[in-house]
């Protein structure tokens, strides 16, 4: 879709302003119900589109992303625009600077149309933990869009944006992509800068693209990846598409642990049928084992909450964001009172739950049993993947054990919500890249296929994803 729009822009068949206006009109029409956006930025979008039109009029060369309507997850900072991370504590927070990924998209003249809904501080799998309402699934508005980057997935699926940025800590790009029937990439840890991403779990967080096609996601990924002096974990990395890829030479591993108990049978059938098509097309498929996969979810939630308990200490009512001290009518005691009441009042239930779990896991006497043990599981998992990738080029499986669920269905049971992440978290623990691509439908709802690659082999994932689109 990006390349088609680009051609039309260059040929002056359509202007960037017209593109922006048509997407903004679509947002005005449907987002009242869909709630993909927390903040819309129509004036900014028109202003940015006009700059692109001026460049075209001047005969300047424009980037592929120039004039392309792009939505940004509301946990990623965009200068002078409100950034809530889905939380009451940042309801009035105006970002003082651009995230590196936003700056890079700006340099490519992408057009920013708004900030998308997310579970509070990205903690959730349905956007039901957002302080600003639930994003509906465009395929069935009684169901969730997935999360935490649910707004980003829904806005692409509903044609409110061409592409969107999300962030994935344990599945937060791949799961909503699967639920909404779009493509979502969680890149290798370190390929994309985290500077300006409001941190959840810093050793796991990674920004990535959501788009309608693998090609569009690839164009965005290419634009946002690379070294950044403001993120010490950002690698020297230059993306290049894979040339001479042939499905016939592809070795696909299918982990038996991902097709066991817990996976909805209709999803299993759908994915098995797709694997058969790949085999018919010449790919070699073999069963593999990730023996420690069943421990990944527990290890993930220990590490995730431990890092959260440290990262979210910054929301203390003193430097920025909501604070009970802003209310002159309140009687406030000492500093401890400021912390307790600000965090008690402005953080949501899931955020409190995770901060406390992490605090517990790191507290005296429990460190070895939880945090250290989880880091050891991480080593075992990494080893599982290394073993598997000595035999195969990519690993395929479901991104989610079930179909998009009804709004409210899992909201009351935190553990039931955590189980949504069963097949996505091992990838984050190992720092690997993985993409979720549409794999057809079951009961008129989208099903995704997760493709996991070797570290830094995003180009392999995109090559496979593009061929797969032709098979579906």
């Amino acid at each position: 879709m990006i390349k088609e729009l680009h051609k039309k822009l260059i040929a002056k068949e359509i202007s960037a302003k017209e593109i922006a206006e048509s997407f903004l009109a679509r947002i005005s029409k449907i987002d009242g119900e869909l709630k993909a956006f927390i903040t819309q930025t129509p004036e900014l979008a028109i202003e940015m589109a006009k700059v692109v039109d001026a460049k075209i009029a001047n005969g300047e060369k424009i980037s592929l992303l120039a004039g392309i309507p792009c939505a940004i997850k509301d946990s990623i900072l965009m200068e002078d625009i409100r950034c809530t991370a889905g939380s009451k504590i940042l309801e009035d927070y105006i970002a003082p600077y651009d995230a590196t990924v936003v700056k890079k998209l700006r340099q490519n003249d992408a057009v920013f149309i708004g900030k998308t809904n997310t579970d509070e501080f990205s903690m959730g799998a349905s956007t039901e933990n957002s302080a600003f309402g639930v994003t509906k699934n465009p395929h069935d508005t009684t169901r969730v869009a997935g999360g935490s980057s649910g707004g980003s997935a829904a806005c692409v699926a509903a044609d409110e944006a061409v592409v969107a940025l999300g962030a994935d800590t344990g599945g937060s790009i791949r799961l909503p992509a699967a639920f909404c029937g779009v493509v979502g990439l969680k890149p290798t840890y370190g390929t994309v800068s985290r500077h300006g991403l409001i941190a959840m779990a810093s050793s796991l967080d990674q920004v990535g693209p959501l788009a309608a096609t693998a090609e569009d996601a690839e164009i965005v990924f290419q634009a946002i990846c690379g070294k950044d002096e403001f993120d010490a974990t950002a690698l020297e990395y230059h993306y290049e598409s894979l040339q001479d890829f042939d499905l016939k030479n592809l070795r696909i591993g299918v982990p038996k642990e991902f097709f066991g108990e817990g996976l909805m049978p209709a999803i299993e059938q759908r994915l098995k049928a797709l694997l058969q098509k790949l085999e018919d097309a010449g790919a070699k498929i073999q069963e593999i084992s990730l023996p420690h996969a069943k421990y990944a979810l527990a290890a993930y939630y220990i590490l995730n909450t431990s890092e959260i308990s440290a990262n979210l200490a910054r929301f203390d009512g003193i430097r920025y964001g909501a604070s009970i001290t802003r209310d002159s009518k309140l009687e406030i005691g000492n500093l401890l009172d400021v912390y307790l009441r600000t965090r008690g009042q402005y953080l949501g239930a899931e955020v409190k739950r995770r901060i406390m779990l992490g605090t517990y896991a790191l507290s005296a006497g429990y460190y070895d049993a939880y945090y250290l043990k989880a880091q050891k599981i991480r080593a075992l998992l990494k080893h599982d993947f290394t073993d598997a990738f000595s035999k195969v080029d990519v690993i395929m499986g479901p991104p989610s054990p079930f179909l998009p669920f009804k709004i409210g269905e899992r909201a009351q049971d935190p553990l039931a919500m955590y189980l949504v992440d069963l097949y996505t978290v091992p990838v984050n623990l190992a720092g690997l890249p993985a993409i979720s691509v549409p794999a057809g439908q079951v009961d008129n709802l989208p099903v995704g296929l997760q493709i996991i690659g070797k570290a830094l082999q995003e180009n392999m994932l995109f090559a496979v994803a593009k061929d797969l689109e032709k098979l579906i």
Binding site: P96, L204, Y295, L336, V338, G344, M356, L357, L429
Partner: protein, 95 residues
């Protein structure tokens, strides 16, 4: 299930003020999640070296140079705080 005292202790360490209803809810929630974590006890981890990061990066540094977008940047950041005095953040007394 955790005791109310345990939840209160964790909440204090985490600097989160909880209502009585929240304490009750978290006793149950945290209890069931911690129970789920027990699955890790199945693994004998005595000979495993823990892994703290996905990538083997070391000593990534940059020049330590003060920078500001413009002369007002510091002032803008200070203005985000609820209370300041003479260019410092102002906080309530500790005691």
């Amino acid at each position: 299930m955790l005791s109310a005292r345990e939840v209160q202790h964790i909440a204090k360490l985490a600097r989160i003020g909880l209502t009585d209803e929240e304490i009750l809810r978290f006793q149950k929630d945290l209890g069931s999640i911690l129970e789920y974590f027990d699955i890790l006890r199945e693994i004998d981890d005595s000979s495993i070296t823990p892994r703290t990061a996905a990538l083997p990066l070391q000593n990534i540094a940059r020049q330590d140079i003060a920078r500001a977008k413009d002369a007002q940047e510091g002032q803008h950041l200070l203005e985000m705080a609820p209370a300041t005095k003479d260019g410092y953040l102002k906080v309530k007394s500790i005691l």
